[in-house]
Every structure is written in C-alpha cells, then in structure tokens.
Subunit: 363 residues, 2 copies
Amino acid sequence: MKPPASIGQRLEEVDTPALVLDLEIFERNISTLGRSIQGKKIRVRPHAKSHKCPEIAKKQIEAGAVGVCCQKVSEAEAMVDGGIADVLVTNQIVGASKIARLATLSKRARIGVCVDDLGNLRAIAASGARLDVYIELEVGMRRCGVAPGEPVLALALEIARHRKLRFAGLHAYHGRAQHLRSLQERRAAIEGAAAAVRLSKDLLARNHIPCHVVTGAGSGTYMLEVENGAWDEIQPGSYLFMDADYAKNEWAAPLPRFGHALFVLTTVMSRPAPDRAIVDAGLKASSVDSGMPLVFQREDLQYTHASDEHGWIEGGPLPALGEKLLLVPGHCDPTVNLYDWYVGVRRGTVEALWAITARGALT
Amino acid sequence: MKPPASIGQRLEEVDTPALVLDLEIFERNISTLGRSIQGKKIRVRPHAKSHKCPEIAKKQIEAGAVGVCCQKVSEAEAMVDGGIADVLVTNQIVGASKIARLATLSKRARIGVCVDDLGNLRAIAASGARLDVYIELEVGMRRCGVAPGEPVLALALEIARHRKLRFAGLHAYHGRAQHLRSLQERRAAIEGAAAAVRLSKDLLARNHIPCHVVTGAGSGTYMLEVENGAWDEIQPGSYLFMDADYAKNEWAAPLPRFGHALFVLTTVMSRPAPDRAIVDAGLKASSVDSGMPLVFQREDLQYTHASDEHGWIEGGPLPALGEKLLLVPGHCDPTVNLYDWYVGVRRGTVEALWAITARGALT
C-alpha cells in the first residue's frame, strides 16, 4: 500500500480524503493521560482497537503502558508482528481456527484472553496455549460476560485445572457508560460495575483464589474507575484522538480534557448552489454510526449529511471550490478502520506516515 | 493480503467475520438485469463503487456492459490496473494532484469524467488529458451538478473549445430516488429528472451540440429510466448484491426481483444470557449507516444493535455458542469497503476468492 503523502509535504498539499493526526495534540493527549494518573497505583493498557497501529502502541508503551488490548486475534497478530510483546485480547475467542491462531501467537508474546463460558474455556485449554485468562464480568453493558459471583468462581476453578492457563483476573468494562452524557450518570454506572467486581473478588478470596488484575475502563470514565479503587488497570483508547461523539460528553474533573487530534482532511469538490458545498469525504471516509463529523475550527459550518462518497456542508460563509477542511470524525475507531495510513502532521508539515497494519483485522 | 479462506473449503469452516458471495444468486442477478432490458436500446455501465473488484467488473462486461463507473480516481486506477478498458468517473475531480492522475490514466484506458464548474473544467483541460466529459445535471438529489438549461449550454460550449476533451453527454443520476419506498414516488422523481434532461438536451440541440449519451439510474429505479426513454445508459450497482435497505423498497414491475447474494458470515461468540446471543460481526464488519443487518433465512432472529466488534441477536430460539449465521448487510457499498476479499461460495463450497482491489480507494 503506497503512502498517501510524503514527509515534508505541506498539509494543504495532501490529497484528500486523508486521515490526519496532529502530532502535537496527540502527544499532549498521551501526556495528559499520564499526568492524570500520576501517583496512583494503576496500570495503563490502552486499547489498540482504536488506533490499530503498532507505531502508536510503541509510543504508548514508551509513555508507561504495560502493553495493549485488542478485540480480535488478527489485531493481536498485527501488534505482535509490529513488535508489541504483551497483548490482552479483551474478547471471547471462539472456534477452532481462531483458538489455534491464539495458541501460535502465545509462543511469540505474552497473550491474554477473556472467557465467559466453560466449554469455550476448555476448548482454549485443549489447544495447549500458554495464556493469561481473564474472566469477563457483565457489569451493566449487557454484552458478553458472566454475572458476578458464582459463575466467576466456577470459571476460576476450571482455569486452575489447566496447567498452561493462568488466572490473571477480571475483565470489567462498562462500554455503555462511556457515552452517558453527564458525569453523574457515568459515576453511577461505574459504581454499579464496581459492586459487581467487589462481590466477585470477595467470593474468589473466600475460596483462596488470587485475582491479580481487574482490568477495564474507557476514555469516557477511566478516572472514575481509578478513584473508585476496584480496578488495577485501565484500557482507554479514544483519548488519543477525541472524536465528535466523545466531545458531546460532559468533561469535568476528575477527567482531564483531551484535544481533537484525529481529522479527515477533505476538499470542496462542488459548489453547485449558494446553500451548500459538497466535500469529497462521505461515509466511506468518516464513519457516521455515532453522528456526523464536525468541521474543525469552523463553528459556522455544519456537515449535515453523508452519502457514500460525498458530504454536505451548510452554514456559512461557505468554503470555495477546492478549499480544504478538517473534519473531526463522529466516531474515531471505525473511521481509522477505513484507512491504511496516518498522515502525522506537525505545524502544517507532514512529519510521519504510520501504517495502520491492523486495518480490516476482523477475525 | 492473505485470502481469508481456501478454495474447496466448506462455508461452515470459513473463519468469521467474512464477506461471502453466493455465486448462484450473484450470477442470477447479473442475468436478471440482462433479461430485464432485453430488446431495449440501452447501454449498461454498472457502478463499480459497489463492488470495487475488477473480477466482478469483467463478469459484468462479459454480460454486455460497455464499461464501468467509479466515484474516485483511485477506484478507476484499480479498475484499469485490473484490466478494465472503459471507466467513467461519475464525479467531479478537483485539485491538481487528482487531475494529474486522471490525465495519466487517460493514456491507459478510455476515461470519462463529470463536470459542474467552468473553472474545474478549464483545470482539467489544461492537464492535456484526453477525456470524455459529461456535464452533471442536478435532477433532484441536491448534491453536485448544474441546473438544467443555460448552465449546461455554457459548459458544453467551453468543452468544445478544448481539442482533447470530447463532450460525451449528460450525467443525470437521482440518488435520493433509489430508496423512496413506493414505486409511485420513485416514478415521480424520475419523471422530474427526465424533464431536466429533456430541457437541457433541447437547448443543446437548438445550439447544434450533439449530446451522445445521457447516463444515470441506479438499482432502485433503472427500469423507470429505461421506460421513460430520456436515458441511453444505466449505472446500477447494488443489483448484484441486494442489501437490507434495498429490500425495504417496494419491488414491482417494471423492476425485476434481485436476490440477496452478499452476506457477512458471523459466529456466535457469547451466549451470556437467555435473552441474547452476541456475534463477532459489529459495525466494523457490516456498515450500519442504513440500518442493522438482517439474519438471513432466520426471520425469528433480529440483529438489534451493533458496537464496533459485536452484534446483538435477539428473538429465538437463539443460536448456540459457536453457531454461524449469514447476515444481509444493511448497506452493501460501505460494507464491501471493509473487506479485502470476496469469498465466493457455490452450494456451500468456496469456489472463488476475489480481491477487492479498490477497497479503501478514497482519493
């Protein structure tokens, strides 16, 4: 895959649509996260599902992360191929072919996996893989995971029966809480999750099963988990980029402010009428599942509608034909997944081209 | 990019999520289109923005298509690289770098482009490219394109001033009409578009400017354009696949019935509670911009919600952990754009693996 820009090029010369990373804001977001947990006893394991890029994972590890999270075996393979030595797959891995790949990968790096089913756990054990196994707890998201208490104990006891599996702890991630708009709602959700964690940890303790790590938390809540104290490890991903959906959240202490670092650079390709400009970034260039993108630093302009390859800009004064705009994607994760490269820009000049090697890593 | 399956493999062994093409239905859809226009004086130029795959473009041309359409220069490059000799870019191409690439491409194949702006037309002419130029007409979609009448004449006169540019005709595509649910609404929209076409053609004729081809029409309306008589060429794309959104349309004569040929194969990865099954295909595996996918041939099951890597299945009886389902994507075009390969299956066995070489072709 040919890079979409060249080092030293001016931002305004980059062809569009392009996925642009403002390196100053990106670096600031990494250090803002670090500062926010300074002095706290918490491990950071950022989620690589957001960035899908080993170069970025390395920067997170340089800044103190213990490793990364992934959602898919193929994402984890891309991370290990890219030099990352510690990957937790925060997901159930089901089916013979995926489990075999996980086993192969576990010979090359420290790999963790989540379970919520005894049969699946036994299939993983039968593969002979050496893995850290986390029990996924349902904490209010109503997605995967077992209920707190007895089901956790049953899985932990089964893990203990398999020599190559190590019971690493609990995976307790409340995805729905991330986008609850008020901090108060998010705090209530995280307190509910913490109750499920404590109940399960207490039961394990009464059964003399050490629970090393409770891992979870996203960019929208992580300081609430840190302050709560029931978690040992946080998994934020979007804090690097800050999309338009996250920007709709109430941001207040204890959460620090992150800046928009990820953009889709787009060109006005048609000015067919006084009331609209059409840009060359539609829904194949900026995922609209969580709403339309924002036009960066142009509050007078609205991106009102997307078709596959076109976007409608209204408001005004409207930009001229050929003018370029920066869009803040509605949702960063699926937008990143549409691109093969980050175009890293500092003060208007292309400084880095990072391959998104886990782009399209679905299996 | 490694193929996600192997020839001869059984469908149930293919790892998930995977983009599966039922070759029998796919071939039937191609012949259904051919039969529907048999004996009519109409050219077929299918839209490759839907499939992004030269192998499929070749099959369309074998079935009588004159060439294909694309939306982006990079898509057109992928088609020409894949052996397609005649490509119409049904879009405005703006900016020096894209115009230079269009000029280079025009030395390797017959290339058409759309214009709706005098300045952009002059920039294209200045590149020295030998191109078929179509004037894009606004026919009710409120996207790009000039108003009918005088603006068309002004552009046609300018095209005539440039020796290497050939005025090929009008591009008149009513995108919004494709998904109007009742056939009556679609017919009214296409009659409105036809009035804009006729007004513009008459003005060109009075000025002795031959308009060779009026091109447009999508899968949801094309027989209405054919019956109307104002069009010479149709551009259907989705007829190959038939997504869940198109299935919500009223399908009645003169439009033939196309079958669902495109699927996302997915696995149940968690059965955390009696009321839901979680599958491994979320919104990075099946685009949700036009609604959730359907569970194929399981009307009792509903795919109710998608997060990035997970889908919620409700209804029942629910499938077991590890069971595989076929999803009909909500919207085929952006779903195809998430994959690198089609897994072509005939009667349950993998028969073809076709690379989606224009996947991610955004510029």
